[in-house]
């Protein structure tokens, strides 16, 4: 049996590296499209300033992209190093989208990014524009495939257990790709990336406007960011992935936990605006509720119920008991018994095998679990409600603040008076962290809400870890944290340096600091 500390440490390491990776990914997703829009404007209008915009924001894109690539490497190899049993158990399904991601998306994005940076003098205008679009499309396609893989962890469709090879195997590739959970996650995640790119450009442009320098450059960047950001924020909010929460038990449990709905309420359920979830007593203290709203958001109807955690746990307990039967049948199959009755019965019960495996945390043999073990395992089937409840609300609050910002910014663009509204520019500047807060809390909701499963209803997280020692994982956590911290400091230093310098960093001679230097020189001579 794997020690609990290895499991916890491995989870911590995965969360740390994934969240760190996702500091850079959304900006890449969004900025790539903004670059493509800017360059398209350049090619159509022929105005050099749009070329300069593409190049300057491209420079910042490059600084961010380098760390995205670096930290992405860790993600791909970590399944093998730290989640070896997971890799064996579901690699047949989970590996395919990762491999296809490489073939279809990474090659495209990575080959053309080189031409984006170094091909300005080697390619025709239209060729270079095509390259920029391919970078944007490539990065978004990689998001598609990784979210197909992630969507399958949440709602594992199109696969079946094979007792000969002791693992899950693919039966329906179409179901894997068109998994509705994956589809809503994809739209939600890439839109969130676009918002991140838009806030980034909006905030830094506002800084130039506040400093009253490079105004034509900043004004145009601000306008593109404002409009692109408004459309993207609406898309994130309207296509928020709540619509996916009806599917599969894990998603249902996650929804109930997010909303701290302990007991099933008559439809349509009330929405808890605020409160303090109390997991031990299974109630929410100091709750402020808005009637009907949650039922309507979650089920898109007024008559469907949202199942509460109490009822879900009752269902889970039944499935755990049935999972014990499935497990004992698997033991017989493994011992060589192939009687038709056994096979037929296992066929019936194997859907609960994963629930049986939850007991492995308490007793390696599963079949000899005591009543106390079953109760403990049932309790485990509910994620940490308070953490989900607050993370979700932080995400939504950030989202609506950004929506407000983009509405105001777009209005100012239409009125052509953004420069005269220092309060708006300051709002934009200080809104810079919001998309990152939303993305990080959002991922916590998605993945923390999946617990105790690594693959929903199939493979418990605590069985997924590698048979490595706690010392090894401690070592890698410390090494990764140290390395990542140094890299982050360097990245932030360069990013701030070049953002402050602005388009003068292009050395075209047209922008603020260079003009300033030229003027000083003239005055001196």
């Amino acid at each position: 049996m794997i020690s609990e500390s290895v499991v916890d440490l491995s989870r911590f390491q995965f969360a740390m590296t994934a969240m760190y990776h996702f500091l850079f990914v959304p900006l890449t997703l969004g900025l790539a499209f903004i670059l493509a829009i800017m360059e398209t404007t350049y090619v159509i209008s022929g105005k050099e300033i749009y070329k300069d915009m593409t190049k300057f924001w491209g420079k910042l894109f490059g600084i961010n992209f380098a760390l995205g690539v670096t930290t992405g490497l860790t993600m791909e190899f970590q399944f093998g190093t730290n989640w070896a049993y997971y890799s064996h158990y579901v690699g047949d399904i989970f590996g395919a989208p990762l491999a296809i991601e490489g073939l279809m998306a990474f090659f495209l994005e990575s080959t053309f990014i080189g031409l984006f940076f170094f091909g300005w003098d080697r390619l025709s205008k239209v060729q270079h524009l095509g390259v920029t679009w391919l970078v944007a499309i490539g990065s978004n396609m990689s998001a598609l495939w990784i979210l197909i893989a992630n969507g399958w962890m949440q709602n594992p469709v199109g696969a079946a257990f094979n007792y000969e090879t002791m693992r899950m195997e693919l039966v329906d590739f179409g179901a894997l790709i068109f998994n509705p959970v994956a589809q809503v996650k994809f739209v939600h995640t890439v839109s969130a990336g676009y918002v991140t790119g838009a806030i980034f450009v909006l905030a830094i442009s506002s800084y130039y406007l506040l400093k009253k320098r490079d105004l034509p450059f900043a004004r145009r960047s601000f306008a593109i960011a404002a409009i692109f950001g408004l459309a993207s924020t609406l898309s994130v909010i309207l296509l928020g992935d709540e619509s996916g929460y009806e599917l599969g038990d894990v998603q249902k449990t996650k929804l109930a936990a997010i909303e701290a709905e302990w007991h099933t309420e008559p439809a349509p359920a009330a929405f808890t605006l605020f409160g303090i979830p109390n997991q031990a007593e299974m109630r929410t203290d100091y709750a402020i509720k808005i009637p009907y709203v949650m039922g309507i958001i979650a089920t898109r109807s007024t008559d469907k119920q949202v199942t509460g955690l109490h009822d879900l746990m009752k269902e889970h307990e039944v499935r755990i008991r049935n999972g014990m039967v499935a497990y004992s049948e698997l033991e017989k199959l493994r011992a060589g018994d192939r009687s038709p009755e056994l096979l037929a019965s296992f066929e019936q019960n194997q859907k609960d095998l994963g629930y049986g495996l939850l007991l492995k945390k308490y007793t390696p043999n599963v079949v000899d679990a005591t009543e106390a073990h079953i109760q403990a395992a049932t309790k485990d089937t509910i994620p940490n409600v308070a953490a989900l409840f607050f993370s979700f609300r932080a995400m939504v609050a950030s989202g609506f603040l950004m929506l407000l910002l983009f509405i105001l910014a777009t209005w100012a663009v239409a009125k052509r008076n953004a420069e005269n509204k220092p309060w708006l520019l300051k709002f934009a500047l200080f809104a810079l962290p919001l998309p990152w807060i939303a993305a990080q809390t959002g991922w916590y909701v998605a993945e923390g809400g999946r617990q105790p499963w690594s693959i929903g209803e199939i493979l418990p997280t605590h069985l997924s870890a590698s048979s490595v020692s706690a010392g090894d994982v401690w070592g890698s956590i410390i090494a990764l944290a140290a390395f990542y911290t140094v890299l982050l400091i360097i990245e932030m230093y360069l990013m701030i340096k070049f953002a402050r310098l602005g388009p003068s960093s292009l050395h075209t001679g047209k922008y603020h600091f260079e003009k300033l230097a030229a003027n000083t020189k003239e005055a001196q001579s």
């Binding site: 399944f79 890799s87 064996h88 690699g91 590996g95 080189g114 170094f118 039966v171 090894d472």
Partner: protein, 381 residues
Amino acid sequence: MIEYELLKIIWWVLVGVLLIGFALTDGFDMGSMALMPFVGKTDSERRAAINTIAPHWDGNQVWFITAGGALFAAWPMVYAVAFSGMYWALLLVLFALFLRPVGFDYRSKLENTQWRNSWDWGLCIGGAVPALVFGVAFGNLFLGVPFTLDETLRSQYTGSFFALLNPFALICGLVSLSMLSAHGGAWLMLRTDGDLHNRSAKATQIMAIVFLVCFLAAGAWLFFGNISGYSYAVAVDTNAALNPLAKDVVTNANHGWLNNYSTYPITMAAPIAAILGALLVIISAAKHKAAASFTGTSLMIVGAILTAGFSLFPFLLPSSIDPTSSLTMWDAVSSHKTLGVMTVAACIFVPIILIYTSWSYYKMWGVITNKHIEENSHSLY
């Protein structure tokens, strides 16, 4: 649908293709950076070396990433056992690779000499360490790695990082390091001029000699040393879905890894290609013939990787402490369905990738001179 057995063979070939693709492309990125601090004396020379690969290193690195993804998808057990077992070796590769994307992009963004020197050594490590570790890992495959599988197919690895650093594996590490360095040197010969070109030619020649000596030494060790080869005791139904534990494996200390060459003499072409490639490099680098040297290093790479593959076939990950747990391309493989889907994806995308990758090289081709670097100081790496 294609027979399962044939798909298993196709994926053995395709993983080989990805590994060779990686070594041929990212190989010269790693090799040229491993040599860069030594062959580039001035900042402009070092920048010239870096800018020969600037537009391509990221695309090339995807061969490595895709090979990792393909390993996960096609041989999940191998991915799981090798990566969790050789935990610190893999992390070492990762940490070295971290230095590359940031090194390339950040190095020339500041004028400070110390900053740039530090990144130059970072890029050197980012090239040399993975090249060395890959070879060491392959060397350990020949010796077998200490792992067992329990009946739920959970693997338990009992070795340590330092046990990987045994003499035979280190020779294999030198094979791989010198091979990729020679390839990187030949690349620099193709794409640079002046002193940098001349020093690269010298380095390429030295690396090819080291490669030849170490490659022959490793072969001699397999032939004369008592390294056990592995084989099936009883033939299995290679067309079936197999549990790795359902087989009998015997080991044979009498140059057992070389049996495939007597069974299928055509496979001798691989080691011969590697040797001829090395000789071609040694001769043409002396005459400063860049294209011939690069052809030679490419031949070395293809030959050496195929030599390892042919020797081990059908084994992928032999277990030194429990031969039955060894993983082969017949039993550590994904399901029929998954291999089928992935084959379709590979057939569609690999040709497309080759087309646009070639286009990107065609567009960016040319000699990078010091003058070019100085004139485009703010837009180049």
